[in-house]
């Protein structure tokens, strides 16, 4: 199991940099990971991260469409917040495992 020091805290991550223990996540850490991804976190970002973390904790599937239907932001906006691969980036910043999108 790999470890990484983010914002002065030691975090358990997998080989792709995703958290293996979502309980280690804090907002400060999120800001730091986002910066590594070239993203400056805003309240909108944080609202999306909270939504993803909550869904993850309930064991629900994480999909781009579910974010688009969340009422927080539409899909286009989600791409704006996390350019390129929004779900993968957002999951990384949210401190949850990479979504197993298709199963």
């Amino acid at each position: 199991m790999a470890q990484k020091i983010i914002a002065g805290v030691t975090i358990d991550v997998n080989e792709e940099g995703y958290f293996t223990n979502p309980a280690q996540w804090t907002k400060e850490i999120a800001v730091e990971i986002a910066r590594e991804e070239g993203i400056q976190l805003t309240d909108k970002h944080l609202a999306v991260l909270d939504f993803l973390r909550e869904r993850f904790s309930k064991g629900e599937a994480l999909t781009i469409r579910s974010v688009g239907n969340s009422g927080i932001i539409d899909i286009k906006g989600f791409y704006g917040l996390f350019p390129g691969a929004p779900m993968k980036k957002a999951a990384k910043v949210a401190g949850i495992p990479k979504p197993a999108s298709c199963v």
Binding site: G59, E60, R65, I75, Y79, P83, A100, S101, C102, V103
Partner: protein, 409 residues
């Protein structure tokens, strides 16, 4: 008289009707199954239709042929489930009381969800093959198509049978080679995932296969709309893919009735516990197969394995015992790779598809995660197994729990 009510007479509902009728005494239990359609489709067969390998007749049979005696069958649309009152209201206003309810209403494709998909080119240059109408229209189109840009696009996941789109492009490769026009057909596979498949090792093997067959993978492509005039697919991050023939795997949703009943997620998939299969909302409601929000494949093999667990847990609930059945997410798929060969994958919630032999370690006869002729015969044989063994809920020589025996780490 107690009542077990099953909603949906597809693969899951039919298997459960057969299994439960054997277990529940007829003088104590009334079993009723409701479905809006009278025809049972062998959905894995849809893949073969566009290439003229199967016709409509090969994949349809009446639903009633597979339901046991002693089960009431009602063909009627379902309006909603009233969980607190333990009854289901049908379209014509009839109300059916239940003691236990099984939701097996499956999933449906919703091409209307994507702007432009069902525009002027629908079933002219744009086809789906997840419906009998789409599959047969595409078969007609391919008969005279001179070639061009053939694009397969997965609009979103989850989808039914995640390997079917891969099989489609590999079949298309073989089909156009045999027609002698492969040099005029450019095949692309545009997917919202980051590779050919979800699970890493299978994705690598299948991705290499596509490459070998000169099929172009376009990963991380998340479809926003289809421009009919310019014949291009447009993604949310504004990339474009031109097409002459678009084969779409549209957005999938659960039955709208699940949403109306307040039992689903935002895609109308019924929320249920992934191990026990019990609804998140009511202890006497259970969910099986594509209708549920389970994080595993939406596929007949999953339904078949879930049916064993559901039977066990339903009996636990009926007899007031704690649940003893636990579904591990087991999925098992034959993958047609064209030219008379096939691959096979076997996996669950926690274990990705691995190479090896199946079902007997070291012997097979099927090879896991590799191309063999035997795997192709397995797939063809499966149609017979489906109609004669699987739907009737009879025993198969494959355990519902995945086993590591025969798999190589």
């Amino acid at each position: 008289m107690k009542r077990l009510l099953i909603l949906g007479a597809g693969t899951g509902g039919t298997i459960m009707a057969n299994k439960m009728r054997k277990l529940l005494a007829r003088e104590e239990w009334d079993i009723t199954i409701v479905d809006q359609h009278k025809t049972h489709y062998y959905q894995p067969g849809f893949l073969f239709i566009p290439f003229g390998m199967y016709t409509r007749q090969d994949v349809v049979k009446p639903k009633t042929s597979f339901l046991p005696l002693g089960v009431n069958v009602i063909f009627q649309q379902i309006e909603r489930i009233d969980g607190p009152e333990n009854h289901v209201v049908l379209k014509d206003g009839i109300s059916l009381k239940y003691d236990f309810l099984i939701i097996a209403t499956g999933t449906r494709v919703v091409p209307e969800e994507t702007p432009g998909l069902t525009g002027p080119l629908w079933h002219k240059n744009i086809f789906d093959f997840y419906t009998i109408e789409g599959a047969t229209a595409l078969a007609e189109f391919f008969k005279t198509w001179p070639g061009g840009e053939l694009v397969l696009n997965i609009a979103d996941v989850p989808i039914k049978c995640p390997v079917a789109p891969l099989e489609f492009v590999m079949f298309a490769d073989a089909f156009f080679v045999e027609r002698g026009v492969r040099n005029k057909v450019n095949i692309s596979y545009a997917t919202p995932m980051s590779g050919a498949f979800t699970k890493p090792r299978a994705s690598k093997v299948l991705g290499a296969l596509l490459e070998e067959k000169n099929i172009n993978i376009i990963p991380d492509f998340y479809l926003e709309k289809v421009d009919n005039e310019r014949k291009v697919l447009v993604s949310y991050d504004e990339r474009e893919i031109p097409f002459d023939c678009l084969v779409t795997i549209p957005v999938h949703k659960g039955d709208q009735m699940i949403g109306r009943s307040g039992l689903g997620d935002e895609m109308d998939f019924a929320k249920a516990h992934k191990y026990t299969l019990q609804s998140d909302f009511f202890p006497n409601i259970f969910v099986i197969g594509d209708a549920g929000n389970f994080p595993t494949s939406k596929a007949g093999s999953v339904v078949h394995f879930q049916a064993d667990v559901l039977t066990e847990n339903l009996m636990c609930a009926i007899e007031n015992r704690p649940f003893t059945g636990s579904f591990d997410g087991h999925s098992n798929c034959y993958i047609e790779t064209g030219f008379g060969k096939g691959a096979l994958i076997d996996f669950n919630y926690d274990t990705e598809p691995l190479p090896g032999s199946f079902p007997f370690p070291g012997i097979g006869p099927f090879g896991l995660l590799k191309e063999t002729r035997m795997n192709h015969y397995g797939k063809l044989l499966f149609r017979w197994i489906y109609w004669h063994i699987l739907l009737k809920g009879k025993e198969m020589p494959i355990d519902s729990k995945m086993t590591m025996a025969g798999k190589k780490m």
